[in-house]
Structure formats: structure tokens, C-alpha cells
């Protein structure tokens, strides 16, 4: 393992931090200058550590660029080689999202990791969206997982179920009509990750009807309510054979295609299913009755 040199500057910094804590106390401390000389250093209120150190160690700094620690320590004012990589949104990895990972506006921090030329990863940092200090990350397209999560966040979250005749009652051996609402739509361009905007074209792919009497039906359309003149045979219907209580529902499967930065459309890997609330239906039996 390569030992990092502990430079006198580091030593001095440490001592100042030891003695001053969060830059409030100005007790004099002993520090070691670059040529090894120990001097007394006092950081005045409002004075930077660097200025105090420079003043205290005037004449004891050694040659410029000299590292009296004897090893090849990285100069403090030189940026390390490497690049930042976008990791993801801090709370997108399951479990509880710690409050520390939230920004002031409630949004989730963005996570970046510094990658050195040899591939090893160094510091990890979190930033809030819009922070001008967000490092320029190496160009990385979003993963399918990130795209799917974004799709989940914009897919419809509710489904409705309409039944005719209305009023929660129907008759045995009568066509009962079922329908829901599910229109295709486009989201417009959304921010996905830095450097990437995504646009979803979302559409219903399949409908699964549960009639509450043990019978189910799959369709590729949402059905429509019956209106005057409409042939019932063109609609989604179910005939209950026996009287009783039926709890009906419909599940809509949504799929999508996406375009990244206005590029070619591609399918989203995965679908989202949403189920309606259960609708209670009393299935009644009609008895013929002679009237005058």
C-alpha cells in the first residue's frame, strides 16, 4: 500500500482543527513548518488558517514545491486526475430514505462518485438538483432500471370500473356491461438524469376483468358504456347465471415507449399494472308476474 505523506501543512491544519474546533477558538498552538521548525501559531478572528500559517512560518517554508514529508503527496491545490460518475438518486435503492439524503425542498440528493484513471473509486458526494457545484459527470446514458422507475412515476396510478345497469344491481341472465377509461397519452419531455431528458408515450396494453362470480375475461380494449342505439354485442358484457353478491374489478396493464433526448423511440422494459377499486354488484333474479 502506498502511504500518503503527511505534509507539515496537514499537520498544522490538524493541530489548528484540534484546538479551534469549528473555527471559533483562537488559542495559540504549536505547529510544524515545512522545514521542520516548530513555531507558535495563533489564528486571529476572521483570519484564514492559511494566512496565519504563512505568517507564523515565514522564513521556515523550505524550497517551493519541496515536500519535507519525503513522499509524493498530492499538492493540495492540484485537482486529482479522474472523473466524476453519476451514481443515481440517493433514495432509489430500496429501504428507508434517510432524511440526510433529502434536499431542502424535499427532493432526493444526486449521488456522484469520483473515479480515478485506474478505475478505483474515491470520494462520494451528494448534491441537490440545481446545485451549481454538481460535477460534470462522464457521459453515461440512463439504465433500463432508471427508465422503468421514471415510467412507473408517470404511469396512471388509478383505474375506474363502470357497470351498467347502474345502481349496483343487475339481473340474472341479462347482459351486464363493463367498461373503464384508459387513453394513450404522452408525457412531454422530463428530466431523467443530468444530460438526459426522456419522453414517454404511454398506452394501455391489456385489460383483465374480474366479474366476481369466478369468471374472468381478458381484452385489449377498455370497453365502452352502452348508449341508445348501440348494439350490446359490441361491448364488453357478462351474464351472471345465478343471483348473489359479485365483487367486480378491472386491472389495466400499461406499457410505454420512450425517447431519450429526442432520439428514436424504444420500448420500456416492463409494464405497470393498476387495479380498480372493487365494485359491489347485487345480482337479482326477476320473477315473472301477471298483471291486469
Amino acid at each position: 500500500m502506498i502511504r500518503r505523506a503527511v505534509t507539515p501543512l496537514a499537520v498544522v491544519t490538524v493541530l489548528v482543527l484540534l484546538l479551534s474546533g469549528p473555527a471559533t477558538s483562537q488559542e495559540p498552538v504549536e505547529v510544524v513548518c515545512q522545514d521542520g521548525t516548530t513555531v507558535s501559531l495563533e489564528v486571529q478572528a476572521g483570519q484564514s488558517f492559511q494566512a496565519a500559517f504563512a505568517a507564523a512560518c515565514a522564513g521556515h517554508m523550505g524550497e517551493p514545491g519541496e515536500d519535507s514529508g519525503g513522499n509524493s503527496a498530492e499538492p493540495v491545490d492540484q485537482a486529482p486526475q479522474g472523473h466524476w460518475e453519476w451514481v443515481g438518486y440517493a433514495c432509489d435503492n430500496g429501504g428507508i430514505c434517510a432524511s440526510e439524503l433529502r434536499c431542502g425542498d424535499g427532493s432526493t440528493k444526486l449521488t456522484y462518485v469520483f473515479v480515478y484513471p485506474d478505475g478505483t473509486r474515491g470520494g462520494v458526494q451528494g448534491f441537490c438538483p440545481g446545485d451549481p457545484a454538481i460535477p460534470p459527470a462522464k457521459d453515461q446514458p440512463p439504465t433500463q432500471g432508471q427508465i422503468f422507475k421514471a415510467f412507473q412515476s408517470v404511469a396512471p396510478a388509478k383505474a375506474t370500473l363502470a357497470i351498467q345497469p347502474p345502481g349496483g344491481e343487475t339481473l340474472v341472465n341479462l347482459d351486464t356491461i363493463f367498461s373503464t377509461e384508459a387513453e394513450s397519452f404522452s408525457t412531454g419531455k422530463l428530466d431523467l438524469i443530468p444530460g438526459y431528458r426522456i419522453e414517454f408515450a404511454i398506452s394501455p396494453r391489456a385489460f383483465s376483468w374480474s366479474f366476481g362470480d369466478g369468471r374472468k375475461l381478458s381484452t385489449d380494449w377498455a370497453g365502452e358504456p352502452w348508449v341508445e342505439g348501440r348494439d350490446v354485442g359490441d361491448l364488453i358484457t357478462h351474464v351472471y347465471a345465478t343471483k348473489g353478491r359479485a365483487n367486480s374489478s378491472v386491472t389495466i396493464q400499461w406499457g410505454a415507449t420512450y425517447r431519450l433526448n429526442g432520439g428514436a423511440p424504444a420500448p420500456v422494459a416492463g409494464t405497470v399494472e393498476v387495479t380498480s377499486a372493487v365494485v359491489e354488484l347485487d345480482v337479482l333474479e326477476a320473477k315473472p308476474q301477471l298483471v291486469r
Binding site: 503527511v6 499537520v11 482543527l17 484540534l18 491545490d77 433514495c91 473509486r121 474515491g122 462520494v124
Partner: protein, 192 residues
Amino acid sequence: MASQLIQTRLKALAVGLAVVVLAAGCQSQEPQPKMPDPTAEPTTAEPPPTPSEDQLAIPAAVRKPNKAGAEAAIRHYFEMFNYFIKSGDAAPVRKLYGERCSLCEVPIGVMELAQSKGHTYSGLNRIESLRVSMLGKDIAVGFVDASQTKIIERDGSGEVVNRFPAAPEAKFEYYTVFQRGMWEITNAESVK
């Protein structure tokens, strides 16, 4: 960028040392302790008598790329830092952070510098609570509430040269990355 880097390093130093030695004066008012022979080699030449080798080994959990592994790495880091304070042997704690983690290296280096002059330290720090959140599949952050007993630095003659007061609580964020087959601490920050 330069100022940002300096700022980062200052933070690093603050974190490392806030855990080890928070803030203090340096008057010799402590009772004189029994001291080892000041002419003896201060560090690393021989394995210390305690703890055992097993206690110094990186726990198996640290080599598992999951949340529990990241937590184990941070806990072991604290244990090995205490071991370093007690023994002067920094090798076990150095295994837990990357070569470029100046945040980790500097406080150890400072203490080693003192130890090379025959100085010794006593005291310890402790994790009071630790929560780990995964930031990616192999990147995690540990939110640590730490406490510290009084830390005493004595010179080779046993005279107290630095006395750092106990700190009942301090909050830190330790960032860890799973690489080279284990969770490695890459950086840390103090939290106000």
C-alpha cells in the same frame, strides 16, 4: 477547484480528528501515568499483545456486497482506530480505506508522527448509533453518531502534552464503496 479541494481536505481532517481528538488545550495537569520505555520502538515492529489477530482481521461481513457489509466496515473502522490509538499500530485501520483517502490517512499520520517521537495516546471513540443507506448497488453511506472519551497525549517522559476533552456526541457521514473485494471507506464528512 483548488479552494474546493482544500476545503474538502479540511473537512477530511476535521472528520478524522473529531472522532479521535476533538478540541483541547495542552497543559500537563494529568497525573503521571506508568509509561513504557521511551527508548523502545514506538510502533509496528511487533504485533501488540492485544487484541488477538482474529480481532484485527477484516470481518467476513465486510467482504459481502450488501448493506450489512458496509455497516460492518464502518464499525470495524472505529474498532481498529481505537486499536491504533491504544497500540500505535495503524496497519489494521489502514486496510479499511483507500490509498487516496486523505480524510482517513491524515489524522492517523499526525498521530503516528507524534508516536514516532515517543508520544502515546489514551482514550477511545465509540459508535453510539449507525444507519446505513445504499446510494447505489455498491456504494453506501453510514450515518454515525459517535462519542469520544477524553484523549490524552503524553510525551516520552509521560508528561501530558495534549489533552482533548470528551465529546458526548458528534455526527458523521462515512461513504463506502465496494471495490477490491470489500467495502472500502472513501471519504467522510462531519455533520452539523
